[in-house]
Symmetry: C2
Subunit: 389 residues, 2 copies
């Protein structure tokens, strides 16, 4: 009986495919391209999860006693299918190029996939996967001179605690002890922390590659956790409730503790002309609020999927236009297809207006990506060569 | 019917407790001390897992559709119990002080606990928990000058690839650019990697605290992944099959690539008198093989739960006694209660014989711990003050 059913199903599927003249069903196994390879961010020796050339994710987990196992990626849950050994396997629809968070559901329990490496996002350490990107060369680990990502502890008087930061020093840093460097303060997004730009963003590899090709001036990058004293839900609201609520506590840490610590302990050029701030999503909004409130402290500003600067902002803060030598605004193309507002109004119109007003403003759109890390890796790769020129 | 059964069960349990006159069942809820606190290595904001003053672990996970959920710690699986909301909760027997790996089983799937931070051990990234230790002060993060744990990439000709290491530089390292430092090459155990000594071992915090108290000479620590080109099962065999099989590939990386890279790129004193090697478990056995085979390269040697040096070794390698100025052997007390052999024979007898032969040999036993990280944290804390004197 089962065999007859299967035969009928296959005939029906073939008929539908023929009638539709080659139309592909996202979910039909018949259409899946069988060229799956292990994800580049799998745990050592783990074969699953795998990714195929369409960008589909194939997950697999042993759960012999379970009755429902799902792969949860891109806000969609895909049922896995159990074999006779109790191993569950299944595929997602094609995903965009780049990095994505995901998880596995086993009989109602949301858990990390034991096959993947773990990354901090959405407020928790969980699974991540890489869909190979056509332009992945710029963040690939190569045999070039490498900088260091330094795991740093320092005392913050604002929080009365020892806090943690990552500091990227460029390859040349320890070679010439007389040389001093500019600094970029670079922030993560909501639900992420100071590990994001290194682990998911590959900020260190992007810089190593740019410096090796002579495309960027070597500079230091400081990455701290801007979620100071508050916990927020998964998705950022378009506009923070109050300025102090959103960026205030981190602003104190940044200006009163972190910048003084960095300038006292690293060979940096401690003036506004050599000090930049940028961030993604919530970090971009924080960059907007903090640099608008302190136009005497930063000369170069980047906001990745995190709002823009309007002409009204310039009117309210004339020193911003006077002091800021470089303004960089970026979004993923899919974000602009479905704009959800964002701090400061329409980013493209704002950027054009600022250019017209004579500000050195750049607007970058990451092709075929959404509010996700591939947009932000590309944004850093475009922003860094413009910095400290 | 179910209620009647539960009542009968409770009566039976109470009767058994009364009959046994106060005898404590490890598993009986009645005996559990209700002073549970979140583990210090939980993910941010996560309440579970918790630990009580007996060292019991209480795990909790939401799995509404599951029919069996277990906490798997110390090679024992403990059943969790489901409430009306589908949340499973349960406790382990008391665990030894210090760090332990564990996992959760959900209907036959072994997965990381979504509540804990993740650590690399047993060949995978998985859950870890801290049982507060009476002596935990020595590895506690304090407001003292902190060194850096540097995430370093370098090219290895032996493996023809860019490899990864962590390098600890002491707090003073960037203050005085004329000063040079001794170096300790410090290895992890089987199924672990270069992240172990920082994440689980707190080697950086142990050193920061020792240096702040003036108990140790500042030195650099280099931590690499010694699992080169081979994958092995979870538990180390007492004796490796062949020397080259076990330590040979890593020996090439260490001697031909890593040491030259470190000595060319860090301000180290590049002579054998200022070069030490130590390791835990497999890393101790590798230290034994590599330093015995290269007595001209290392003057200070530490083996933590990883064998010892015998009088026969000295006879076979006279230069080892001549060149090695400090030999440190350590074990957890529970390992010595149940000795499983180990490279080089009985460690205490060996150590006494070496002392008698005039070698500067130290033997340390970590109280009430087994083959686990608390033994190795303590070993480093005892070993470091002896180094480079």
């Amino acid at each position: 009986m089962k065999r007859v059913f299967m035969k009928i199903n296959i005939v029906v599927i073939l008929l539908i495919v023929l009638i539709n003249g080659g139309f592909c069903f996202a979910q039909s196994p018949a259409t899946i391209v069988e060229d799956f390879k292990p994800s580049s961010v799998n745990q050592p020796g783990k074969e699953f999860p795998k990714v195929n050339s369409e960008g589909r994710v194939r997950a697999q987990i042993s759960a012999p006693e379970a009755h429902q196992v799902q792969l949860d990626i891109g806000a969609v849950k895909y049922d896995l299918v159990k074999d006779e050994k109790g191993i569950w396997t299944g595929e997602s629809a094609p995903q965009d190029e780049g990095f994505h968070y995901y998880q596995i559901w086993v009989d109602g329990a949301a858990v990390p996939d034991p096959g993947s490496l773990y990354f901090f996002g959405a407020g928790r350490w969980g699974s991540g996967i890489e869909i190979p990107a056509k332009d992945q060369d710029f963040y690939t680990l190569k045999n070039v001179p490498h900088g260091e990502l330094r795991d740093v502890h320092y005392f913050s008087a604002s929080t009365n605690s020892v806090r943690h930061a990552y500091i990227y020093t460029p390859p040349s840093y320890d070679k010439d002890n007389s040389k001093r460097y500019p600094v970029l303060y670079l922030q993560h997004g909501m639900g992420e922390n100071e590990t994001g730009w290194g682990n998911q963003g590959h900020a260190n590899l992007i810089m190593d590659n740019l410096i090796a090709e002579g495309k960027a001036v070597p500079f230091i990058i400081v990455m701290e956790n801007s979620s100071v004293k508050f916990e927020r839900p998964r998705e950022p609201k378009p506009v923070p409730r109050t300025r102090d609520d959103f960026a205030g506590e981190f602003k104190k840490v940044l200006l009163n503790d972190l910048i003084p610590f960095v300038e006292a302990n690293y060979r940096v050029i401690g003036d506004p002309n050599h000090r930049a701030m940028a961030g993604l999503s919530m970090g971009g909004m924080q960059t907007r609020l903090i640099t608008l409130a302190n136009p005497d402290k930063f000369s170069q500003v980047g906001m990745f999927s995190g709002g823009s600067i309007s002409m009204d902002d310039l009117t309210n803060t004339p020193d911003f236009k006077k002091n800021v030598k470089l303004l960089f605004i970026s979004y993923g193309s899919r974000e602009l297809e479905n704009p959800r507002g964002g701090s400061g109004g329409d980013p493209k119109a704002n950027t054009e207006a600022l250019k017209g007003a004579g500000m050195n403003t750049h607007f970058y759109v990451s092709p075929q990506t959404a509010h996700e890390w591939q947009s932000w890796r590309r944004a850093l790769n475009e922003f860094a060569p413009l910095l400290f020129r």
